[in-house]
């Protein structure tokens, strides 16, 4: 009997050995179909769900299913797995389902959210979120981030903020808004202020300003107290401060003796170091996520192109060779891509990403106005940029493959120079 079993096992092993094998790779990536059921309870719940839907839509992670195609009656269904007929949600192609009930107690709105895995008919996430009525949108952002983390194990960016420059009667002012463009708050009030950059932890911003006369210099503003202090006053002008990922130093460009170079300063003060020393203009520094390299723009070869160098200024490598005017590099948080704006043969600036390893350039925007100043979301899945495609310059988001462009701001005189802030500190 034992011998028979061994023979059978041997035969089975032989059959497996002879089994043809096919390797399949390069899967297509598709947004995850999700249904947001109309919430029950207080009418504010509907407002929260609209904010959540807009967040999901912008993220590119989810494909929102059209409520007019829902087969289930949300009014009759409950919010527990047992009370939901999942076959009706499976039938419309839903892979995930969000249900919510809202209540208003005084000035506090409370929303009870449930996230379900439709094919498995199980609950993935359940949470009660409450906030003052005025902060209703934050409830949606918080739950949205929790959903993203539940699926991707990566942080969501709905609770982050974006700084940008607003055109006003009194010049260009620095504004901080939520990641969806809502709740903009102006943090400067006069002069021309440009190129906001987030300080470590998101506690403040550095920006370039002409406020004190004598050319452009770098200032910092504390977001809590709104106090503005000089950060770099150096040479003819200083501009474009960017903080290292570890938050202990910052790079910027400064012009001395008619030569503009990239410089490095410790955040606590100390020895300032010049990183570039070419006769051309070296500007627009951007840190790699590991803090070991810096991308920058230089015209040392005759036209503005993107270069990278090690943080000590050595090992300079030119990375763009197509086009004759490439600028504004933004190194992705994942480290694999650098986004930049480049002027094409039609003399219009558009967005591109270059793979740092392969050098392959991919165009993100085309035939849609002028598109400039890309800035990555901290999870590296979305970019914000300024575009004239809808008239005046406004902020837009786009995915790194050039899809899913969405307008964020509607500034009457225009908005530009976006800088996506860090993840909120827990």
């Amino acid at each position: 009997m034992k011998r028979l079993l061994l023979c059978a096992l041997a035969a089975s092993a032989a059959a497996r050995a002879q089994r043809p094998t096919i390797d399949i790779s390069n899967a297509r990536v598709q947004a995850y179909p999700i249904a947001l059921a109309p919430p029950s309870g207080a009418p504010e719940g509907r407002e929260v769900m609209e904010v959540l839907a807009a967040d999901f839509d912008r993220s590119g992670l989810f494909r929102l299913l059209d409520p007019s195609g829902f087969l289930a009656d949300p009014a009759k269904e409950g919010t527990t797995a047992q009370s939901i007929d999942f076959s009706k949600w499976t039938a419309i192609g839903a892979q995930a389902l969000v249900k919510a009930s809202a209540s208003l107690q005084g000035d506090t709105i409370r929303v009870d959210f449930h996230l379900f895995d439709v094919p498995r008919a199980t609950e993935l996430l359940h949470g009660e979120y409450s906030a003052p009525r005025a902060s209703l949108r934050q409830i949606a952002h918080r739950f949205g981030d929790d959903v993203v983390r539940s699926f991707t194990q990566e942080p969501g960016v709905f609770q982050t903020r974006i700084a940008y420059v607003r055109e006003t009667e009194n010049g260009k002012q620095i504004v901080v808004a939520d990641s969806d463009g809502f709740s903009p708050q102006q943090v400067t009030s006069n002069s021309i202020n440009l190129l906001p950059a987030w300080m470590p932890g998101g506690r403040g911003l550095a920006f370039t300003s002409f406020r004190d006369g004598g050319g452009a210099h770098i200032y910092q503003v504390d977001l809590a107290g709104r106090s503005v202090q000089p950060l770099v006053r150096m040479g003819d002008f200083a501009t474009g401060a960017v903080f290292s990922p570890d938050g202990i130093r910052y790079a910027y460009s400064a012009s001395q003796a008619e030569n503009t170079d990239v410089w490095l300063s410790p955040i606590e003060g100390g020895i300032v170091r010049r990183l570039t020393d070419s006769r051309g203009i070296d500007i627009s520094a951007s840190w790699s996520p590991d803090g070991k390299r810096i991308a920058f723009v230089s015209d040392r070869a005759g036209s503005p192109q993107i270069y990278t160098m090690s943080v000590d200024g050595n090992d300079v490598r030119r990375i763009t060779f197509q086009g004759n005017y490439n600028q504004e590099p933004a190194w992705s948080p994942k480290g694999d891509l650098i986004a930049f704006s480049g002027r094409d043969e039609h003399r219009v600036f558009d967005l591109y990403v270059i793979n740092v390893q392969t050098g392959k350039v991919t165009r993100l925007t085309q035939n849609a106005g002028t598109n400039e100043k890309p800035s990555w979301a901290p999870n590296g899945r979305v970019l914000v940029f300024s575009s004239t495609r809808s008239g005046k310059k406004q902020l837009w988001t786009i995915l790194p493959d050039g899809s899913n462009a969405r307008q964020l701001t509607n500034e009457s005189r225009g908005g530009s120079d976006p800088a996506w802030g860090p993840l909120p500190q827990k």
Binding site: A15, R16, Q18, R19, P20, T21, I22, D23, I24, S25, N26, A27, R28, V29, Q30, A31, Y32, P33, G60, L61, F62, R63, L64, L65, D66, S68, G69, L71, S87, T90, A91, I92, G93, Q95, P119, R120, V148, F151, T152, Q153, E154, F321, Q322, G323, N326, K334, G342, D344, E345, D350, Y352, V361, T362, R363, L364, Q366, G402
Partner: protein
């Protein structure tokens, strides 16, 4: 001569003053011309036949132009038509989708392969040359002819499954880059996947679910007779990122 008789010279071309300045010859010439014009006008109508239909020739002029200068920044590739969103189109629960592989323009190489495959099919009906095709008791590694068929068939299997190999964007990029899984599929004579067994799951339920969905949506061509037994006993599919 001057007998008082008045001599009147009449030319053939001249007209009788009583009937006007035109002579009969000119009148005749005009009449003949009128007749010719009238004939040209009326005769086609007498033999009124429908004019042959002339379809307009619509030509799309395609300028191939010069290849793009590699020193220029790249252009975006033309956007593919957006896939229809199945949001409001209920599907039959549990039933495998009838979605087939997206049609695309065949390349010259693929057309050549198809022609060769057709020729191979035609010659298959011929009595096989035992020396070429081998005997039933021959090598388990197969023969040259069956290897060619196998290569083509397994290529078709790969294409059909790959067309449905879609992973959700909510999977983290790290997992998408490194996770892999193995599934054994059992193929019937009509090409149906009668069973699949996940012999090595990826460890991520979203990916495993996507693989199962891909197999449920896949419709394979019937295997060639010489491969029917082999594929019925299982084909191992290694899904890689």
């Amino acid at each position: 001569m001057t007998d008082g008789t008045q001599t009147v010279h009449r030319s053939l071309l001249g007209g009788d003053p009583r009937i006007g300045a035109l002579g009969p010859g000119l009148t005749l010439a005009i009449a003949l011309h009128l007749a010719v014009v009238a004939a040209a006008f009326f005769l086609p109508r007498l033999f009124d036949r429908p004019q042959p239909l002339r379809k307009p020739v619509i030509a799309h002029l395609v300028a191939l132009g010069k290849p793009r200068d590699p020193r220029l920044l790249p252009r975006k590739e033309s956007a593919a038509p957006a896939a229809a969103a199945p949001a409001s189109v209920p599907e039959k629960a549990g039933a495998p989708s009838k979605t087939s592989a997206p049609t695309r323009q065949l390349t010259r190489q693929e057309l050549m392969d198809r022609a060769l495959a057709g020729a191979a099919r035609r010659t298959r009906d011929e009595k096989p040359d035992p020396e070429r095709a081998g005997e039933e008791t021959g090598s388990a590694q197969g023969t040259a002819a069956s290897a060619e068929e196998g290569e083509k068939y397994f290529g078709a299997v790969e294409d059909a499954i790959h067309a449905n190999y879609v992973v959700p964007s909510v999977i983290s990029e790290r997992e998408r880059m490194y996770l892999s899984a193995t599934v054994v599929i059992y193929i019937a004579r009509d090409g149906a996947i009668v069973k699949h067994v996940m012999t090595r799951p990826s460890g991520n339920s979203f990916i495993d679910q996507a693989l199962v969905l891909a197999l449920q949506r896949t419709h394979l061509p019937p295997p060639p007779p010489e491969l029917a037994k082999l594929v019925r006993e299982g084909v191992e599919i290694n899904f890689k990122p």
